[in-house]
């Protein structure tokens, strides 16, 4: 049985100040196996973030269903942990306090929380910064805390919405490598939204390409690059081919967008 099943998923929003409804995601089907790393790419407005939020149980579905291990998802659950683009750290808590927060929310035993939080802070390389407050950290460090907070609650699925989207290119690459290193330890299922093609290919077992109006899946591309992956992968011919294929897809979308704007 696949771990996550998205069946005929439709999500609509009421447009503000009008009776019209905006279809963010229309009739999407997707299945994700246990331990799979799936990235989702697409132009802005293709509903990729909405799709992820719906798996997190934070969005009301207009149609279809999402199943986790065969059971219908009706809200957030402790088997799914979020890592969003904004690190969303509590500014009044230290690094340690922030990583503890997820554990506290999921009612881990009080005796274990501190030790466990520290273990994951060390895992993301911030052992020396446990007592720092978020405003004292760089963007990359904050994202590390964000990731540590999600990993610490021992979820089965990590839901990542452009977690490195606000970082500079270099930090982004480092973080991608780190994420793969951590992921390869226990191979938790990862659903990872990004608009960066290189990142999408580098991380994924499968890349889901989405299109706009309404948000739908255009293609799913299997990435058969060997693991563990490192910088050498980025220079391989196979990587270049996949990258080109994705670029063409997205370029098509950009072209249609341009047409739309010209009509207006």
């Amino acid at each position: 049985m696949p771990q996550i099943e998205i069946q005929d998923l439709t999500i609509e929003y009421a447009k503000p100040s009008s009776d019209q409804r905006f279809v963010a995601v229309g009739h999407v089907d997707l299945t994700i196996e246990r331990g799979e790393f799936v990235t989702i790419v697409g132009p802005s407005g293709c509903g990729k973030s909405t799709l992820l939020l719906s798996v997190a149980g934070l969005v009301e579905l207009s149609g279809g269903a999402i199943l986790m291990d065969g059971k219908t998802v009706s809200g957030p659950g402790r088997e799914r942990a979020p890592v969003f683009q904004d690190a969303s750290l509590l500014p009044w808590r230290t690094v340690l306090g922030n990583v503890r927060f997820g554990l506290e929310l999921q009612r881990w035993k009080q005796d274990d929380i501190g030790e466990r939080a520290m273990r994951f802070i060390r895992m993301v390389g911030l052992g020396a910064y446990a007592d720092y407050h978020p405003h004292q950290l760089s963007g990359g460090m904050r994202q590390r805390v964000n990731i540590a907070r999600a990993l610490a609650v021992d979820p089965e699925v990590l839901l990542m919405d452009e977690p490195f989207g606000a970082l500079d290119a270099q930090t982004r690459e480092v973080m991608g490598n780190e994420l793969l290193r951590i992921w390869s330890r226990d191979r938790k299922t990862c659903l990872f939204v990004t608009h960066d093609i290189d990142e999408a290919v580098f991380l994924a077992d499968r890349v889901v390409v989405m299109g706009r109006e309404p948000g739908h899946i255009k293609e799913i591309i299997r990435v058969d690059l060997p693991r563990p992956r490192d910088e050498a992968v980025l220079e391989s011919q196979a990587f270049a081919d996949l990258r080109l294929r994705l670029r063409r897809h997205l370029a098509q979308d950009m072209a249609s967008m341009r047409l739309v704007t010209e009509e207006v």
Binding site: A81, S88, L90, L105, Q106
Partner: protein, 269 residues
């Protein structure tokens, strides 16, 4: 934002220490000394009638003896209890109400207009009614303090909660946070700078409420003593009690201001 600048101001003001004598400190000190000197010698020189003004030396002596009496401590205990109960009650009601108004539009539309109207009106308007309803004992004073402190706390907390980062709420919900958990783990800490501002304003109104309430109708308490000593022309004792009240209010307010500065540091980018 406000708190960050306030914190920054405090920092720069604190850097040149007032000791040893900076110019501004020396001037302040001199003006206070001159005031006490004139007050001390004015009755002796016949400028004013000492029966109405007393003298700093008399106040000092009166204070020394009065602060050791059971009369004083009994009055202080009663007034403080009224203040503490009323204040705790206003916190207990204002915080959940503020959260309700921030999370529910209907609640906001229902409660906002009367809340703002009562916030602007001095709550002492209701004092005669409260005395009628609750008698001249402690209950009516507790109610006055509650009304005085409630509105600044509720209004400021609400303003603070409206500033909450929605991304923090989304994150906490994704981790499975309950509504009550969102309230005390996200909403309250987010609103803490404004909440403290509300508390600081509430302290002033609460102290005023206790004293005026006791002056108006009471059987005991600091305000009652003030009224008694006023009637019997004990200006020295009256001033001792006045000093106690203002010291209490000042220390408490400054303490909260210090907390505000600490809390403001979180937001420092």
């Amino acid at each position: 934002m406000l708190n960050t600048t306030e914190a920054a101001n405090n920092k720069s003001a604190a850097l040149p220490l007032p000791w040893p004598f900076s110019r501004s400190f020396a001037i302040s000190l001199a003006s206070v000394a001159i005031f006490f000197l004139i007050w001390q010698i004015a009755p002796a020189l016949g400028w004013v009638n000492g029966r109405f003004t007393s003298q700093p030396s008399q106040v000092l002596v009166a204070g020394w003896t009065e602060l050791g009496t059971a009369t004083f401590w009994n009055a202080a205990r009663i007034s403080f209890t009224e203040f503490a109960l009323g204040f705790a009650l206003s916190l207990a009601v204002a915080l959940p109400l503020a959260a309700l108004m921030v999370t529910s539009k209907i609640a906001r539309y229902m409660i906002d207009p009367p809340l703002m109207a009562l916030y602007i009106a001095p709550s002492l308007i209701l004092l005669p009614i409260l005395i009628l309803w609750l008698g001249i004992g402690m209950a009516s004073k507790v109610a006055v303090v509650f009304l005085g402190a409630f509105f600044p706390i509720a209004v400021n907390t609400m303003a603070g909660m409206r500033q909450v980062d929605p991304k923090l709420l989304t994150m906490a919900r994704a981790f499975g946070a309950s509504r009550s958990r969102l309230f005390y783990s996200i909403l309250i800490p987010s609103a803490l700078p404004s909440l403290l501002t509300g508390i600081r304003l509430g302290i002033g109104r609460g102290v005023l409420g206790v004293i005026v309430g006791e002056l108006y109708a009471a059987q005991a308490g600091i305000g009652y003593q003030l009224s008694t000593y006023g009637n019997s022309m004990r200006i020295d004792l009256l001033l001792v009690y006045a000093l106690v009240v203002s010291t209490f209010g000042y220390v408490l307010t400054e303490f909260v201001r210090l907390l505000e500065v600490q809390v403001g540091k979180w937001g420092a980018k």
